[in-house]
Amino acid sequence: MTNDMSAPLRRLLSVFCALCVFCGQSLRSSEVPLLTADGFRVPQPGREFVFPRDHGSHPDYRIEWWYLTGHLFTEEPRPRRFGFQATFFRSASPLEAAARPAPAAFGHDQIYLAHMALVDIGTGRFIYQERLNRAGWDAAASTETLDLRNGDWSLRFLDPAAERMELRGGVRAEARFTLALSPLKPRVLFGEAGYSRKGASPTAASHYITFTRLEVSGELVLGAAPPVRVGGLAWMDHEFGSSKLDEDQVGWDWLSAQLHDGREIMFYALRRRDGSIDPVSTLTWIDREGRTATAPWRWEPLTFWRSPRTGAVYPQRIRLTTTDPASGAEAVFLVEPFHAAQELLGEVGGVTYWEGACRILSADGRTELGSAYMELTGYDRPVDVVR
């Protein structure tokens, strides 16, 4: 499978993925260049965000993504639970190519990649689809507001003032969903007010906007069955920037947890070639009001799963030890995937990764404390670094 990967796409995706990574070091704005060597804008500290404009696309930056994960429940015709992922990527062409005139229907300034996945928690059936389109008649991203389109998949504001949005997605003809998403908490600007560093280089940064708790309601159509009403919770990241992943990094583990007590945890760890963890790796708590606080952490995989399709060995059940900023006491959680087989093979985009619905359990495994989505990359082979 990995032999089929298209190298340029993998490069493209690894640029996207690199945006996951940021660090908390401050930098004076005078030290940050305005443009990268190839002419893209570099994220600046202290940027004044303007909404809903900044929910839209930023084509001056090389890369951008809108990343939705969540859990859906239905009572029709019997209680069922699903996990879903909906990702819209944008990647800008080199500026000299983009400068050449292009027909509106078949543009060449941006390429849009999208991933959709759905897992039936009851049966473990995991389905996903990837889609690639150029800017043009079948894919676009508004620069005014949140309005994304890739084929018949879309994400747009229903009500920009309330930041209420609608996701239309699906997986081939096997699933189709239309979901309305409303923030239950104010948006979070990670890093320094949405300026997040991710390396030593002054250009290594991104702007990072997240909705950590979205209420979901909508309709899910499975195959030829009649549509069912669904409801649940979702998480949405929006990041844009112009920088690349470090040479010595092979992949990362990422977790978004929504706890039943109304708080969230966002965690990522960047794995290096030598097996060590990059010091920029961070765990952030988000309290009920949406305030953030970082905390020390320990990430211990307890069990592993070997993918029969790629041979990659992914961590599965994980013990996460951290400090609860509310009490200052040690908090120990178990992160447990509902199903092992939630691997995306990257037939179109070229990156194989694991992105799956999980639950958060107490240390003894007896109490469910919340639900989560976990992302594991670079386990089949190092995520290629942009050359």
Partner: protein, 882 residues
């Protein structure tokens, strides 16, 4: 029985190896011609690929405007309307190009290509592309950490697609290794394109044909000046449950959308499938291919005559032997089976050899068939005819069947031999039955043929018609002619009797001709069959050539003719941009320029052409050959002729319309109603053309490109030097002088008929071989007479001369009848078979010199091979050996 077979048949074969070999060879030739033509036909149809299939596997549906392109604006509309159906929407632009001409004069028949423009970014979403061995971009990566050296330039990335230099992907069958760059003539200019790599092939998809070039859709739009327009849209349903329901729903939705927001209720597009497109291509050429197959059967038919001859001869000669076997207790059924087995063995040997020969022959035939299909129907690239099990079995069956049918009567005769009958050796028996002596049969067959020739053709659907009754009429004619020839033999013998006084060999020969055996009659009939068809074809081709000459003399009157160098076949769509043709028209040496534009059109589901031309200028030059009365003067006046059209004869035939009829024609600006005011002859293509004044088509299609340009030069200008000057300024053009184009048209014409020449000569060769075989049988039957003649003092050379005379007389009789028959067959081919298949009116013309040569050749060869057979017969031992 096996033992019996070995004793009887193999001994026979061993004793007469030459005869057996000749028989096998004749059968082989028959099977070979049949198989070669079938394989070539098959290759020609297979080569019509729905090109997108090589990328997608196969689309579920295709939409295409009935005339002109579709606007890009339909794409977002389709996406919105089909959002709930989980369907991939792939717009396609298709064009053609040719390789540049060398320094010599421009010629048609250069390598031409189909350019397929698809969105190569979105192509990554095709399931087939994800399973293909290679990709458009990137390709297989070396394993991580491996220090594999990079060979050649690195594979392109998506962003290379957007760079300055256009990228193209070629079929792996194009060349190995693929070149780094490709020079092409696109429309009216040469372009140089960077080759990115081989076209990826999904596991289930047909291999990319050698003439396929894939590039990014907007690049192709830009290169051919079709920005904002697409040729068709293909739909591929995502996999999932209820696929049949979704497919039906998609078809319904597409049909509804076609009518939504369409002006005046005519659909904006029609919905079709790749299978239907292939079928259209197959039916378009069906008549042409069936005609070839029928022609190829002649050799097999002649072969059948000959197997019958040979086996029957063997029965007669070996009757005593059979009688002895019968008296030894071998029953009649065993004898019959043994003889049938012998026939089957012969058939098998002949068929196997024939299949090999046929496969080899198909490699030549395929070129000829491909060229004809290219010239008349659509662009194909027939690379090679591949052997197919089905065709091999069919060839085998045809060969076996022919030999079994031919062996049936002799086997029955053998089985009917009474035990230990003492026979008069030379009795030839009633071979061929009484039918070869029946004038009633001859006249009946000819009368039936005449009747059949009046019947209409068989409708194959899709505008293709097959003149079944016409072919049956030809068969009746051949049968009647054959019997007539056998009836004429005694008369010939009597008529030549005065010559018998000259010498003993003459007396012997004429004696035999005056009292012909069944064998003589059969040989004559077989020859008549071959000569009749060959000469008939010669008459058809000569008539065709005369008509085409007449046509080009009247229609080619301008001094120079200009088209794109890329235009290579009836399906080419390479054109001249408005800037280019205006620049040519404005050249100081040009007195007048007539512009012609061909717009592909789909009418009643059949592809055809709507032409826009300068009717008045063409008519003023005398450029139309009217079929029936000429049009009224207003039809040629652009100010008054909107709504009037001229129809080519093939158009009228295909769409069953007559002068005065009206028909609705779709155009991008809405449907138009046209009244046909005249029919004109056009031997250029078989799809048919509807011709209106170009001022109207330019407006209807919002398109000012030109397909070709006829230039009248000022009196002082020299055509050759103007041509040279134009070529220098526009290297992508094909510029013909008047005489150059005439020569080129005739060259293509002859090329188109090359396969019929080959078939004709093979048929004749088989018949002449058959004559030798017949005479050998006759002489074997007359062994006693030969012994007597030698005892009387005949020298071997005299016996040979007698045989040569006998053969020549036979050939003469058959040739005379055959030529007479060919006049009838020629008439049938021209006025019935050709007219019904292709709809072309041809003037009857007899190529006298060619027919005389043919006659002399057949009689001469007949005499020569008979002489050789006579020599061989004198060397036979006198006593019975069989």
């Amino acid at each position: 029985m096996l033992l019996l077979l070995r004793r009887l048949s193999l001994r026979h074969a061993r004793l007469a190896p030459g005869q057996t070999a000749l028989l096998v060879l004749i059968l082989a030739l028959g099977v070979a011609v049949f198989t070669a033509v079938r394989l070539a036909n098959r290759a020609a149809v297979l080569s019509f690929t729905h090109f997108t299939d090589t990328l997608t596997g196969s689309s579920d549906f295709i939409i295409q405007a009935p005339a002109g392109p579709l606007p890009e604006a339909v794409l977002p509309e389709l996406r919105q309307a089909l959002a709930d159906l989980a369907v991939q929407i792939h717009p396609v632009v298709e064009s053609s190009a040719a390789e540049p001409a060398g320094p010599e004069a421009p010629r048609f028949g250069r390598r031409s290509f189909t350019l397929l423009g698809v969105d190569l970014v979105a192509a990554a979403n095709l399931a087939g592309q994800q399973q293909a061995e290679n990709r458009f971009f990137g390709g297989a990566d070396p394993a991580p950490g491996s220090a594999e050296p990079q060979l050649g330039p690195p594979p392109p990335t998506f962003f290379d697609l957007f760079a300055e230099e256009p990228l193209v992907w070629l079929s792996p069958a194009f060349a190995s290794p693929l070149p780094g760059h490709l020079e092409l003539i696109l429309n009216d200019r040469p372009v140089r394109l960077r080759v990115a790599g081989p076209i990826p092939r999904p596991p289930e998809a047909p291999p990319a044909p050698a003439n396929l070039i894939v590039l990014d859709l907007p690049r192709l739009q830009g290169l051919v000046g079709r920005e904002g327009r697409i040729d068709r849209v293909e739909f591929i349903l995502e996999p999932g449950p209820a696929i049949d329901e979704r497919r039906a729903a998609l078809a319904r939705r597409l049909e509804q959308l076609a009518l939504a927001s369409a002006e005046s209720g005519s659909p904006r597009w029609f919905v079709t499938t790749p299978g239907a497109r292939r079928e259209t291509a197959a039916t378009m050429t069906a008549a042409f291919r069936l005609n070839l197959t029928v022609l190829s059967l002649i050799a097999l038919l002649v072969g059948l005559y000959l197997v019958f001859q040979a086996l029957d001869g063997a029965v007669v000669r070996r009757r005593a032997e059979i009688a002895i076997l019968r008296s030894l207790g071998v029953d009649a059924a065993t004898i019959r089976r043994a003889w049938l087995a012998e026939a089957a063995l012969l058939g098998l040997a002949g068929s196997v050899l024939g299949l090999l020969l046929g496969w080899a022959g198909a490699q030549f035939a395929v070129r000829a068939v491909g060229q004809t299909v290219n010239a008349l129907y659509f662009s194909t690239s027939v690379a090679a005819a591949h052997p197919s099990l089905g065709e091999a079995l069919l060839g085998l069956a045809a060969g076996l069947l022919a030999s079994l049918v031919a062996g049936w009567a002799p086997a029955r005769a053998a089985a009917a031999t009474p035990p230990a009958q003492v026979l008069v050796r030379s009795a030839p028996g009633a071979i061929g039955g009484p039918w070869l002596r029946s004038p009633a049969l001859a006249l009946g067959a000819l009368a039936l043929g005449l009747l059949l020739s009046r019947l209409p053709p068989l409708d194959l659907g899709g505008g293709a018609r097959f003149p079944l009754a016409g072919h049956l009429a030809a068969f009746c004619g051949i049968l009647g002619g054959g019997v007539l020839a056998s009836l004429a033999l005694p008369a010939l013998g009597r008529a030549l009797r005065p010559l018998a006084a000259r010498s003993a060999p003459w007396r012997v020969a004429l004696g035999h001709v005056a009292r012909p055996t069944g064998r003589h009659r059969l040989a004559a009939a077989a020859l008549v069959c071959a000569i009749g068809m060959a000469a008939g074809m010669a008459i058809l081709v000569a008539s065709f050539e005369r008509s085409v000459r007449g046509w080009i003399n009247s229609s080619l009157q301008a001094d120079l003719y200009v088209s794109s160098l890329g235009a290579q076949s009836a399906g080419s769509d390479n054109r001249l941009s408005p800037e280019t043709w205006r620049a040519l028209a404005a050249h100081p040496a040009v007195a007048r320029a007539s512009v012609f534009t061909a717009h592909p059109l789909v009418l009643d589901g059949l592809p055809t052409t709507l032409g826009g031309g300068d009717l008045a200028a063409q008519a003023a030059r005398g450029g139309f050959l009217w079929i029936g009365p000429p049009p009224p003067p207003e039809a040629l006046d652009p100010a008054r002729n909107e709504g009037l059209a001229l129809a080519s004869e093939s158009f009228a035939g295909r769409f069953r319309i007559r002068r005065g009829d009206t028909l609705g024609v779709p155009t991008p600006s809405g449907p138009r109603t046209l009244r046909i005011v005249a029919l004109y002859a056009d031997y250029g293509n078989e799809r048919g053309t509807l011709l209106v004044d170009r001022v109207h088509t330019t407006r209807w299609f919002a398109d000012d490109h030109a397909t070709s340009l006829a230039l009248d030069l000022t009196p002082e200008a020299d055509a050759d030097s103007v041509r040279a000057a134009l070529l220098e300024g526009f290297p992508g053009l094909a510029v013909f002088t008047n005489s150059g184009l005439r020569a080129e048209v005739l060259r293509i014409f002859r090329q188109t008929f090359s396969i019929t020449y080959a078939l004709k000569f093979i048929g004749l060769a088989v018949a002449v071989g058959g004559l030798a075989l017949s005479l050998a049988s006759v002489l074997l039957d007359r062994r006693d007479e030969l012994t007597t003649l030698r005892a009387l003092g005949f020298r071997p050379t005299e016996i040979a001369r007698a045989t040569a005379l006998e053969g020549a007389a036979l050939a003469l009789c058959a040739t005379a009848t055959g030529l007479a028959l060919s006049l009838a067959l020629g008439w049938l081919l021209i006025h019935v078979i050709n007219k019904q298949s292709f709809g072309w009116t041809l003037a009857f013309s007899v190529p006298v010199a060619q027919l005389a040569t043919l006659a002399a050749l057949v009689v001469g060869t007949g005499a020569l091979v008979s002489h050789l057979v006579g020599r061989w017969a004198t060397s036979l031992p006198a006593d019975r050996q069989e």
